[in-house]
């Protein structure tokens, strides 16, 4: 019995050893995410000895490892709407206008709630959360400290109340209390940043100050506002505003004070003043810092006219930077490249030396760097003239890398790259750009919803132009409408692509999508679709589906409820009629003919011939005579021809012959 126990024990032992070896192999093979697991100590290699117990390495996972593993199994769902919306068909936006409306409505609800929370904070003070969550506590946006003191000034600066801070500073000076240099510098920074006006409060309901439109910045805005209001109402650095006044009153100024003033001037457009202030800085035997130089470099193209002069100024600034032992950063080089974009052909020669300099200093380029390089080499007006290698080189260099946001201009890269691909009609590079989006965190650099719509619009345009229809449709299902709501031009591109590859039978499905997206009030789009359907005859099932679609479109023209109906044109009427005739829905086609009269449009001769063919097929002499009468009423030149054909090909009764001869005489008289 003891032997059986030892036997069993040995079996279990061998089994666990095998299991442990398998587990160890499995652990070595599994690899979730980057750095989600760490191994504590390297294991000794297993020798073949039977009795050795191998303890596997202990893995520690970081907190998000499970979530990362689960996330790696799920791809984006192209049938779902954006994640901020509720998953219900009534509440899903179908057009870009609805997208903007719903997301803004949700944000405004949040703002309304924040208004109540901050106005009545005593109901929200009880703190259940352990650990404490600071963002769920009410904020104090009102000023607490009201006596004239430095603490009051600090509070106003922190709450970003520019005017109140300036008033408090003046009161402090009048009362005779000296304000410390750091605090004055903070005040100068505040004034320069906001251009001497109060920023609009995010949650105040009706405060629309005339100066700045506030950025209710949410990523969810799509093709809505083309520009933010602040772009139209750009703040100007007024003469002798508070920043300058306080600056001049300061007993001593250091580099930070000058820096605040210079950067504020550059931000708000007073470029030459910024350079004058810089000269003052140098005259006071102070040195600049990197922020000052970045601001001055970005202002340099504005104060000189010729390309060479601009470049000389920039080189001069860089030399001074080196003399004053200020180390350049990524933003410095990006500012240089951005200025080079406005230096014409000089930019092309100087761009690569700048980049080499950057690499020599060990500064990794960001997407803004590459965007400026592309902007230098691909000017908007000129098409690609032997410079196509630049885009390919750039893409080869950055493929597989994940970038983070380091420069505000990083978000321009993707849409500019796609613009270049569209201009050069290069679908391969477009695919590479698009795959770059999938790497790491690059999706965050695609920009807000307006930029996204531009990017996807260009991408889809290029696809419709260059790719086979099956590929186009695959991308169509992938992109629309979960990522992008195309405009009517985009839908016309899609119709062109269908036409090119002879897949016109898909038009009724596309029509459903057009209706859903709200483009059914665009007359050019509808007419183009109708003319594509009417152009040639199709196989019977397709023809029937076309006829149903045409009747649907006709309903759009005639409905009067709640919307302005489309107005008939000769083209659309003829197209619908010929589609109906080809599908052998003669009754409805005849009704269409009557619509011609109502809408004051003249049917074409080919349409009349088509009618005659169909009437002959049904061998209805009465309808043939009616057809000739209608043709005469429109005074078509084809009328005598029709009349002859009718007289020859149909056997008419006496009455019909008389009618025809009357018509003949009347038309002969009118000629």
């Amino acid at each position: 019995m003891a032997s059986s126990y030892t036997h069993v024990g040995r079996q279990i032992h061998r089994a666990t050893k095998l299991v442990r070896r398998d587990v160890k192999d499995a652990l070595q093979r599994r690899y979730f995410g980057l750095g989600s697991a760490t191994f504590q100590q390297p294991a000794a290699t297993v020798s073949g000895s039977a009795e050795e117990i191998v303890i596997p390495r202990k893995k520690t996972w970081n907190k998000e490892a499970v979530l990362q593993a689960l996330a790696s199994t799920v791809n984006r769902d192209p049938t779902a709407s954006h994640y901020v919306f509720q998953d219900d068909s009534y509440l899903t936006p179908r057009t870009s206008a609805e997208f903007k409306l719903y997301s803004l409505a949700q944000e405004s609800g949040r703002t309304a709630a924040k208004y109540f929370i901050n106005t009545y904070p005593k109901y929200f003070q009880k703190d259940f959360a352990n650990p404490h969550i600071p963002c769920l506590m009410p904020e104090t946006l009102e000023l607490q400290v009201n006596e004239v003191s430095e603490a009051a000034l600090i509070e106003r600066i922190q709450l970003r109340k520019v005017k109140a801070a300036v008033d408090m500073y003046d009161q402090l000076l009048q009362a005779g209390t000296p304000v410390s240099l750091d605090l004055t510098n903070d005040l100068l920074d505040l004034i320069s940043l906001y251009g001497d006006c109060d920023p609009a409060r995010g949650d105040a309901p009706e405060q629309r100050t005339e100066e700045m439109g506030e950025e209710q910045e949410d990523v969810k805005r799509r093709k809505g506002m083309p520009q933010k209001a602040s772009d139209f109402l750009r703040l100007v650095w007024r003469e002798n505003n508070n920043a300058e006044r306080i600056f001049n009153m300061m007993p001593e100024r250091n580099r930070r004070s000058y820096g605040a003033l210079i950067r504020g001037m550059v931000k708000h457009g007073a470029y030459s003043k910024a350079f004058n202030t810089y000269t003052d800085l140098l005259n006071n035997r102070l040195t600049g810092d990197v922020h000052i130089f970045n601001a001055l470099i970005s202002a340099a193209p504005e104060v000189r006219e010729k390309y060479v002069e601009k470049w000389d100024l920039i080189v001069d600034l860089l030399k001074q930077m080196a003399e004053q032992k200020v180390k350049p950063t990524l933003l410095t080089f990006n500012a240089v490249l951005k200025a080079l974009r406005r230096c014409g052909s000089l930019g092309r020669t100087q761009a690569f030396p700048v980049i080499n300099e950057m690499k020599a200093l060990g500064i990794a380029p960001s997407l803004a760097t590459y965007d400026h390089v592309l902007g230098i080499f691909y000017k908007a007006a000129t098409s690609a003239q032997g410079h196509t290698e630049i885009l390919q080189d750039v893409l080869s260099e950055i493929s597989g890398k994940s970038f983070t946001a380091q420069d505000p201009d990083d978000v321009e890269f993707f849409k500019d790259a796609m613009r270049i691909c569209l201009a050069t009609k290069d679908i391969e590079q477009a695919y590479r750009v698009h795959s770059l989006l999938g790497v790491g965190e690059n999706w965050k650099l695609l920009g807000d919803s307006y930029y996204q719509s531009i990017y996807y619009g260009r991408f889809f345009n290029l696809l419709c132009m260059m790719e086979h229809i099956d590929v186009v449709l695959k991308w169509y299902k992938e992109l629309i409408p979960s990522l992008y709501y195309p405009n009517s031009q985009g839908m016309r591109d899609l119709l062109q692509a269908l036409d090119t590859d002879n897949r016109l039978d898909l038009i009724p499905q596309i029509w459903k999508d057009i209706k859903r997206m709200g483009h059914d009030n665009k007359t050019e789009l509808v007419e183009e679709m109708l003319s594509l359907m009417a152009r040639e005859n199709q196989i019977p099932e397709v023809q029937q589906s076309f006829a149903d679609c045409a009747l649907d479109v006709k309903a759009l023209y005639t409905q009067t409820d709640r919307r302005v109906p489309l107005s008939w044109s000769a083209g659309s009427l003829s197209s619908i009629t010929s589609i109906l005739l080809a599908a052998e829905r003669t009754q409805q086609a005849w009704e269409m003919l009557k619509l011609f009269k109502l809408a004051n449009r003249v049917p074409s001769e080919s349409l009349m011939n088509q009618f005659l063919e169909s009437v002959k097929a049904s061998n209805n002499a009465q309808q043939a005579v009616e057809l000739v009468q209608i043709s005469a009423s429109f005074c078509l030149s084809i009328t005598p021809n029709l009349m002859e054909r009718v007289q020859q090909e149909f056997d008419l009764t006496e009455e019909q012959r008389n009618t025809l001869s009357d018509l003949e005489s009347s038309t002969a008289m009118s000629d």
Partner: protein, 170 residues
């Protein structure tokens, strides 16, 4: 009649004495009782004429919970060794009243409140009474307000119905 008068005066003196003693005991505690709802009448809609539409939730009585009904409020404080059940119940009541008032006339059925970790999920069935952007406004408002109130993330998941789903007529 004299006897009844004497009885009535006796009665009034007793009452006055009682009153005075009660008045003297005003600082003390006494039992406060609300209206009684017996357990065989709670949450049950009785059979009537047959013209009253009733949803599935309302039609099934509480003893059918876990047989034919589910729970409207899902949290773990009723498990062995967990505490906070009373707090969760009070929170639930508050949330139900808040949402009943905020989405007035739009709720099709009772709310289902689920707690997953720190997250509070409010699942609501609503009628298509308002245009969608108004629903989004109210959803954003409620989520933000309740998050700040309960110091935990609150999410609402809404499904829309054309009209209330009637199970039977009682």
């Amino acid at each position: 009649m004299a006897a009844s008068l004497r009885h009535s005066t006796l009665f009034t003196t007793v009452c006055r004495q009682l009153n005075s003693t009660l008045w003297l005991n005003v600082g003390g505690r006494s039992i406060h009782s609300s209206a009684v709802c017996c357990k065989n009448r709670a949450a049950r809609i009785r059979v009537g004429k047959g013209d009253r539409p009733v949803t599935y939730e309302q039609a099934l009585h509480p003893h059918q919970i876990a047989h034919r009904k589910g729970w409207l409020s899902q949290h773990t404080s009723n498990l062995q060794g967990e505490d906070g059940a009373a707090d969760r119940t009070v929170e639930d009541l508050f949330i139900r009243r808040l949402i009943y008032g905020t989405f007035h006339g739009c709720l099709a059925d009772e709310l289902v409140i689920k707690r997953r970790g720190n997250l509070l999920v409010i699942c609501a069935l609503m009628l298509q009474k308002l245009p969608p952007h108004k629903y989004y406004f109210l959803v954003g408002y409620t989520e933000e307000l309740l998050s700040h109130f309960y110091k935990c993330p609150v999410k609402m998941e809404i499904q829309m119905l054309e009209e209330k789903s009637v199970y039977k007529y009682l």
